[in-house]
């Protein structure tokens, strides 16, 4: 039995360290450490409530709009208002742009390059994959970066810039959209659709969205071999990625792309054997028993939560707190969202194989196919001559929370205003859920569970299998601890 520390993991956002215990060639225990603490929750104490809209996007450069929107929603909740309809549509388009750009970056820049490693040089698919996906020099890099940058022109129009916009406000957006700009937005979306339909899928987005089962997915992959997604499915089949990083499904979603009272993808909880149930945010607690944190209570709902770093905590091994839902570990992300949305392909995959490396990737690719057409619809629904925002005063005393689905999953902000200033601000980010340390009942977090039983082979702690599992969650470590 050996214990090894692995890190840093690049091609994840932020710094990550994983400690593993290896016995007879398999991982028997894992501890996930988020080694960076910045203290946003402390920084925001005493600030003007609306200034949180400047600070919170800067929690994260890759999910900055999700942070903006969670903050704006929490402030709107405190004010008792809702955003103007045009503002809701524009915010959803900006958020979808970020989320899809992140899915794209994850696939092409962060995840696929591991299959172009020398370890796989004897695989029949290696040469083609290395040519396409090798880090920095793969032919996909330039093509993808160009498509990504042009797609993000959406934020140049709707948000001023990305990352770190201030255009998303509690009452809506500071930008308006003229009918001429609607035309520009639609043309950008068409450009991105064409990239996806030629390079990633080599098929119409609608045809990908309509895949109903694993069998249909396999048949589709055979017919679209030249596409990057099919290339992945081929590798996944060969390396049995559906058995890698597998955990029993305990999924949560806060609900994605809300317009008025409707979500595009609903909120909820999905548990293996129990199916779907309603989300009750009162059941969310953060546990600090294994964090370098000091607090009066070991667990607290985020409205009561505090953040006081203390590196001397003897059981602590991460700056990350351990969020739990009704005492359960939850996995969040595209796979959770698409399960909650009852997409038949995803339900088929999850019912037979639960959560694993392959399913996490398939769900992200499915979202690329499903959301671009929705963005086209939202653009068309914008009414240029109607308001994009309304202004309401900020109360001196209030409490509010805001929930969104970032690319990586459920993100929540909980704030309290006293004497017109922020008294408390608590954030639970997607990777806080996925990469949490153990809790007071010694239950390991989602990644800690997913790493168990991984066969590491001769590579030991350098096993590329560990890299695949870690990256399959598309972790964002800067959000995790904030």
């Amino acid at each position: 039995m050996t214990r090894k520390i692995i890190g840093p993991f690049n091609r994840v956002e932020g710094d990550l360290e994983v400690e593993v215990e290896i016995s007879e060639g398999k991982v028997t225990k894992a501890w996930v450490n988020s080694p960076l603490y910045r203290g946003f929750e402390q920084i925001m104490q005493g600030k003007e409530p609306l200034d949180a809209l400047v600070y919170t996007p800067r929690i994260c450069g890759i999910c900055s709009v999700a942070q903006s929107l969670a903050c704006a929603k929490a402030l709107a909740n405190a004010q008792g208002i809702k955003a103007a309809e045009n503002g809701q549509l524009a915010s959803n388009i900006i958020l979808a742009c970020e989320n899809l750009a992140d899915h794209l970056s994850h696939f092409y820049l962060f995840f696929m390059p591991d299959f172009a490693r020398d370890e796989y040089q004897y695989k029949p698919w290696y040469e083609e994959v290395a040519l396409r996906f090798r880090a920095q020099i793969g032919t996909a890099t330039n093509t993808m970066l160009k498509a990504r940058a042009e797609f993000i022109h959406i934020t140049g129009i709707l948000a001023g810039k990305w990352p770190h916009t201030l255009s998303i406000q509690p009452g809506g957006t500071t930008t308006t959209v003229s009918s001429a700009e609607k035309a520009t937005l639609l043309s950008i979306l068409m450009g991105f659709r064409q990239f996806l339909e030629t390079e990633l899928f080599a098929a119409q987005l609608e045809a990908v969205s309509e895949l109903n089962s694993e069998d249909e997915l396999k048949a589709w992959a055979q017919e679209h071999r030249q596409s990057d997604f099919a290339q992945f499915l081929h590798i996944a089949d060969d390396l049995q990625l559906s058995t890698l990083g597998a955990i029993s499904a305990h999924f949560m979603s806060f609900g994605a792309y809300r317009f008025e009272d409707e979500f595009l993808f609903p909120q909820g909880i999905w548990e293996n054997n129990r199916g779907l149930s309603q989300l009750n945010t009162q059941l969310i607690q953060e546990d600090i028993s294994h964090s370098w944190m000091l607090a009066q209570n070991e667990t607290a709902h985020p409205f009561q939560g505090t953040t006081q770093p203390d590196p001397e905590q003897s059981k602590g091994y991460s700056w990350c707190k351990a969020p739990r839902y009704d005492d359960q570990v939850m996995e969040v992300g595209a796979l959770a969202r698409q399960t909650m949305a009852q997409h038949s392909l995803i339900l088929d995959l999850v019912n037979t194989q639960q959560s694993n490396v392959m399913n996490r990737i398939v769900a992200r690719m499915l979202e690329l196919a499903r959301i671009v057409p929705e963005m086209e619809n939202w653009c068309k629904q914008i009414k240029p001559n109607e308001p994009f925002s309304h202004q309401e005063p900020m109360p001196k005393e209030a409490e509010g929370y805001g929930l969104v689905e970032a690319a990586r999953g459920s993100l929540g902000h909980w704030l309290r205003i006293e004497n017109g200033r922020l008294k408390n601000y608590q954030i639970i980010a997607p990777t806080t859920w996925n990469f949490s340390p153990r809790d007071k009942n010694d239950r390991a977090g989602a990644l800690e569970q997913a790493l168990l039983n991984t066969a590491v082979g001769e590579g030991g702690n350098n096993s590329v299998a560990i890299q695949h599992i870690v990256r399959s969650f598309d972790p964002c470590m800067v959000c995790t601890v904030h």
Binding site: G14, P35, E48, T155, K161, T174
Partner: protein, 331 residues
């Protein structure tokens, strides 16, 4: 080849993500054109864990020559000077100590973004992590390396400030260095590249006509000038954001919100709030940096008196309601 090592510490990764927005051409093509070789970048490189730690060792031993060390994010000195708020994963050492060692090996050290340059947002509020910049702590020279520190190529830390940085600012300076085309006189008084800090955010701002006549926005989203009421610092902020578009066509100002002067030290701690202009006796504090106050007040009251009706009406609207020129009513 011009070897670049890019590390991240107390920041959000947004300057790297912004770098990936480079276009026409993309970041990799740009670097290729000037022989910039990314030895390692957190978002782009294959090497992970042990392979990466070995790379750092070979740089320290001198086996691999490092031309430029880039840091993104603040230096985390806390708690109590230990640097424990950021231990570089897999090494058991603080990032602060790695930075001290590596900066002695690189011909040039660059702070990518305002966090690495001055402390930035990570140092806001009560600065719980004792975050600072590589050679500045807010406006004060010093930071991690000290005011007198110079790199082996006899350069201070090059502060590519911004929150985030524009991809062009980053690629330009690295390429200029690689081409031997970047000199001390290319730095401003805070060691930022003059290529973008010789400009003001005010330059090229689409709201300039409103500024000329002091036709001011009253709420965020109004199209008037945001200097008088909404905290806009564009007339003082050193950057070319309205000359060089962001993400195709944007800037903070086109996005409908004020410039928060994110290329400046201590921007993260506004006097009042980011979106409210502090005033004394109704006159904004922090007028254009090199304009005599009396002149500003005199000109402002004159121009206010001369404001065309069109601008007055549009300034507090969210889109143009009164276009220039005579327009006949159409029924």
């Amino acid at each position: 080849m011009f070897n670049v090592l890019w590390l991240q510490s107390g920041g959000c990764g947004g300057c790297s993500i912004s770098l990936l927005n480079a276009e026409s051409p993309d970041v990799m093509t740009r670097f290729k054109s000037a022989g910039v070789n990314l030895l390692w970048h957190p978002s782009l490189s294959e090497a992970s864990a042990d392979e990466f730690v070995q790379l750092l060792e070979t740089i320290l031993s001198g086996e691999i020559h490092l031309d430029a060390l880039c840091l993104e994010g603040s230096v985390m000195r806390g708690p109590n000077g230990t640097g424990r708020f950021h231990m570089l994963a897999g090494t058991g050492k603080s990032m602060m100590s790695w930075l001290q060692a590596l900066s002695e090996k690189a011909d040039y050290t660059l702070a990518m973004g305002s966090c690495a340059a001055f402390g930035g947002v990570t140092a806001a509020g009560n600065n719980p992590t004792d975050a600072c910049g590589l050679q500045y702590e807010g406006k004060q020279a010093g930071g991690l390396l000290g005011e007198e520190w110079r790199s082996p190529a006899n350069f201070p830390v090059i502060n590519v400030a911004g929150c985030p940085t524009h991809p062009d600012w980053v690629t330009n300076v690295l390429m200029q260095l690689a081409l031997g085309d970047f000199h001390l006189q290319d730095l401003d008084e805070l060691n930022r590249p003059r290529a973008y800090t010789d400009h003001l955010v005010h330059h090229g701002c689409a709201r300039n006509e409103y500024y000329e006549y002091k036709a001011s926005a009253e709420t965020l989203g109004d199209i008037g000038c945001m200097m008088e009421h909404k905290g806009c610092l564009g007339t003082q902020a050193r950057a070319d954001c309205n000359i060089r578009p962001w993400n195709g066509s944007g800037s903070c100002l086109t996005g409908g919100y004020p410039c928060i002067n994110c290329t400046a030290p201590e921007f993260e701690q506004p006097k009042l709030s980011f979106t409210e202009t502090p005033k004394i006796a109704g006159i904004p504090v922090g007028l254009p940096s090199d304009m005599p106050k009396a002149w500003f007040v005199a000109l402002a009251s004159l121009s206010k008196a001369a404001t065309p009706k069109r601008l007055k009406e549009n300034a507090t609207a969210t889109h143009i309601i009164s276009p220039p020129g005579k327009h006949k009513e159409r029924s």
